[in-house]
């Protein structure tokens, strides 16, 4: 096998491996709860890891917003608040729910107005460098 062929095989193998890893992660029920004006928006979804290795979700970004952070709502002695979540580990064959009253993405400063029903691109970022692009649907807060 010549060098050229070996390089091509190597590249193909790399591409296959990358695809396999990306396929291990999937997202369902992705929606943004759209508030009026330019108020911060919460993003909810279910992230599933069907791979053999644990992964660490370390953040998210969106071309539609200037800032995206991960938060968790808290309830202490009848007081509601929230705290930043720097990262979240997802076990092999595990799932994480971002749900109202719990984990949520906080998306701030819209780059342009968003309508109900719009598909908004959000990329989930993992500590190992993986990136997962997801379309979030903008929904009315009263509908949830």
């Amino acid at each position: 096998m010549g060098l050229k062929r070996r390089v091509i095989y190597g590249l193909l193998l790399c591409m296959f491996a990358a695809t396999a890893v990306a396929d291990a992660l999937s997202v369902t029920d992705a929606r943004l709860r759209l508030l009026p004006g330019d108020l911060p928006v919460a993003g909810y979804f279910r992230l599933i890891n069907e791979g053999d290795d644990s992964v660490v979700l370390s953040g998210a970004e969106s071309s539609a917003f200037e800032h995206v952070t991960m938060h968790q709502s808290t309830q202490v002695d009848g007081m509601a608040g929230m705290e930043p979540v720097p990262e979240l580990e997802l076990a092999p064959d595990g799932a994480i729910e971002f749900l109202p009253g719990g984990y949520h993405l906080m998306l701030m400063k819209r780059r342009s107005p968003i309508e109900f029903g719009a598909e908004v691109p959000v990329t989930l970022i993992f500590a190992d460098g993986q990136r997962l692009s997801v379309q979030f649907q903008a929904v009315s807060p009263a509908a949830m």
Partner: protein, 192 residues
């Protein structure tokens, strides 16, 4: 601690002799009647007297709250949807912003309109908000500003419910199912 014990004892005492059964938490008599001086979402000075005559839900929050506040208001909107038109028109939800620096009347109006015509935004200065939150044994506080000037506000997570005379009746929590809330709102509309 003493205040909490008193509240629990009062609730036990009162639920023992009441004939009504509620599915959310009965706090009848454990807290004072509704009373406040605030500014409404049209910029008008208002008092609790302006809202007598209808069942009233009171919730403290702020519009820059992405998760808990819209979740609570959606829970209430879901319950309102289950009510007949007669019961629905006899109900109002007062969303009191404890973040007057960011929540002006126009912002409040646009925000509460999303949840339906029964939702009314109110706010006030620190003295007025301190008086109202203190009256219901709760509080609020501001987190540190981040580099873009955003800050979190902690606030009571529960909703207080009053009958048409402004007498306190219920504490509604996030864990209460929408059907239970709707059932209690029906009963509240008969309460006087």
């Amino acid at each position: 601690m003493g205040k909490q014990l008193f509240l629990i004892l009062s609730v036990l005492l009162l639920t023992g002799c009441g004939e009504q059964t509620w599915r959310t938490t009965d706090i009848s008599g454990a807290m004072p009647e509704l009373n406040f001086n605030l500014t409404d979402e049209h910029g008008h000075a208002v008092t609790a007297d302006d809202y007598r005559g209808k069942s009233t839900l009171l919730f403290f929050g702020f519009t820059n709250c992405p998760d808990v506040c819209p979740t609570t208001l959606a829970q209430l909107a879901g319950a309102v949807k289950l009510l007949s038109e007669d019961v629905r028109k006899d109900l109002q939800v007062l969303f009191v912003s404890v973040d007057p620096a960011r929540d002006d009347p126009a912002t409040l109006r646009r925000y509460t309109d999303v949840f339906g015509p029964r939702f009314i935004g109110l706010t006030g200065d620190r003295a007025a908000l301190d008086a109202l939150t203190g009256r219901y044994s709760t509080t609020y506080s501001y987190g540190e500003k981040d580099e873009s000037g955003n800050y979190d506000v902690s606030h009571s997570s529960a909703v207080f419910a009053f009958n048409r005379e402004g007498d306190v009746r219920l504490l509604i929590r996030a864990s209460d199912p929408v059907e239970a809330v709707a059932e209690d709102l029906r009963q509240l509309s008969q309460d006087s």
